[in-house]
């Protein structure tokens, strides 16, 4: 029982895996072609203009700047998709959690199991992303593999707060707003496509307050081999605070939602 995650949470992961077994081909195909298209069009296409006009970004070709940042932005999207509609569906529409809680499983197992599952999903997405990066010659060193767990941690910093948020929702009316006002702006302005230092000063502060800026900096620094230990530790610390805080508030919120 005293393995990495509790046995009950492992069952929740198994449930997700059984459902995923029906969709994995399509899902992994999307996870392959999305970065392929982005890196090809933005990294190579747009990048050729950027490189010609300003010699790349921060001393590296645009594609090298873009790809590792985009990796962190992509795991954020995975976290956002996995931790909103599917979770609300299991609370509200299909009532999967109600069925689970009629067995020896507990709310804690549900929370830990869902976090473990989204972690696995992000590891899949990030690994495929890294393979695409390697194909473009952007993953220069073995150390660049560290960007996979780094981007996964960055995504987790969105996953646990989003599970907490979803636990409070009575329907899906606010979810679209979360994507439009949080996830998409962060994807576009959070440091993946251009340096945060290019944003107006106030927005720079906003960007650094979110987990994505730290995830992007960490991923990029690891792939480019430019990050120093103290800076990496700072980014890691911020991400961990988000992960833990999100998990700590998600548990009582989901319990309040499910146990009446």
């Amino acid at each position: 029982m005293a393995t990495v995650i509790p046995a009950g949470a492992a069952r929740v992961v198994e449930h997700n895996a059984l459902v995923f077994r029906r969709q994995w081909r399509g899902s992994l195909t999307v996870s392959f072609f999305t970065p392929l298209f982005f890196i090809a069009s933005m990294g190579l296409g747009l990048g050729s203009l950027v490189n010609r006009s300003s010699g790349g970004v921060g001393g590296v070709p645009y594609i090298d700047f873009l790809a590792p940042g985009l990796l962190a932005a992509t795991t954020m999207q995975t976290a956002a998709f996995e931790c909103t509609y599917p979770i609300l569906g299991k609370i509200l529409w299909d009532r999967i959690y109600e069925a689970m809680l009629a067995t020896p499983l507990k709310v804690r197992d549900v929370v830990i199991g869902e976090v473990a599952w989204v972690t696995l999903r992000m590891l899949m997405v990030a690994t495929i992303f890294w393979i695409v990066m390697a194909a473009f010659g952007v993953a220069h060193t073995p150390e660049s593999l560290l960007a996979i767990p780094a981007a996964t941690l960055s995504g987790l910093a969105f996953a646990t707060p989003l599970i907490a948020f979803t636990s409070t929702q009575k329907n899906d009316s606010v979810m679209g707003t979360v994507f439009r006002l949080v996830i998409t702006p962060l994807f576009l302005f959070g440091g993946a496509f251009f340096p945060i230092s290019r944003l107006p000063f106030v927005l720079q502060g906003v960007a650094w307050a979110t987990p994505l800026a730290h995830g992007v900096a960490l991923s990029r620094g690891l792939v480019l081999g430019t990050i120093a230990m103290p800076e990496a530790a700072l980014h890691l610390a911020v991400l961990l605070v988000y992960v833990v805080a999100g998990g700590v508030i998600a548990l009582p919120l989901l319990r309040r939602r499910l146990i009446k």
Binding site: R11, E14, H15, L18, D94, E98, M100, A102, T103, P104
Partner: protein, 311 residues
Amino acid sequence: MASDSTPLISARGLGKRFGELVAVDGIDFDVARGEAFGFLGPNGAGKTSTMRMIACVSPVTSGSLTIFGENPATRGAEIRARLGVVPQADTLDLELTVRENLIIFARYFDISWAEGRRRADELLEFVQLKERSKDKVDDLSGGMKRRLTIARALINEPDLLLLDEPTTGLDPQARHLVWDRLYRLKQRGVTLVLTTHYMDEAEQLCDRLVVMDKAKIVAEGTPRELIEKYSTKEVLELRFPVDARPMLDHTLDGLADRVEVLADRVLLYTSDGDAAVAAVHSRGLRPETALIRRGTLEDVFLRLTGRSLVD
């Protein structure tokens, strides 16, 4: 382990509140091993709240409750490991097949994949869904979904099966199929606790039942005892034309032990239905129909609460 003579479920002064709303108001009951025990009552009487407390998914607000001699507040997971639960609304996984629904549920009880598959096939046979095992749940009829839910509740070979309105919303044929399976479980010695607002369901399945109304238990006994105590051997049901109803007020007095005037019919409680029909006619009354039937739990409920079970 509790011995055979100790009750499987024991409640004393059991209560449940949701804010200001009192859903269950200090009820006492015991359920013995091997018994089929029912909660009969209209919607909103507190049956489901009681069931959810027994199922260890809803905390007890007041009083005491033990299941298998254990406290649900501290031993919920251990108690749930020995329960089978059929909730009021199906909570089947629509993204999985019929068989997968059972196998993954076995995993929640820490049953191995191989054993889960074995039990799933056995149970699909039992609930007559073997041919549908590879189908998506969404394609099943309401009755089939209900039977699958029952199969799922049996996957851990429970000591106690809880059924919250097992046949509500099913057509008569589907109901009889469910009843037949439940009857077989009862014969195998599985302890059943069910809620229902159908008196025929309660009469067919329950060895003993309590009648609930407005969060309280208003009577307890076997179906036969309750009928003997609160109804009469025979009931004469009369239907009158709509325009004749206002004149009925006192014209039926003295024709039976008790007279109930309902919206659509008049019930005369009597030990001799034929004599009552003759008496009605001798007073010059001309009902459209006159039906003599035996007393049922519906009559018990009417007597106890002044209302019908299903409005």
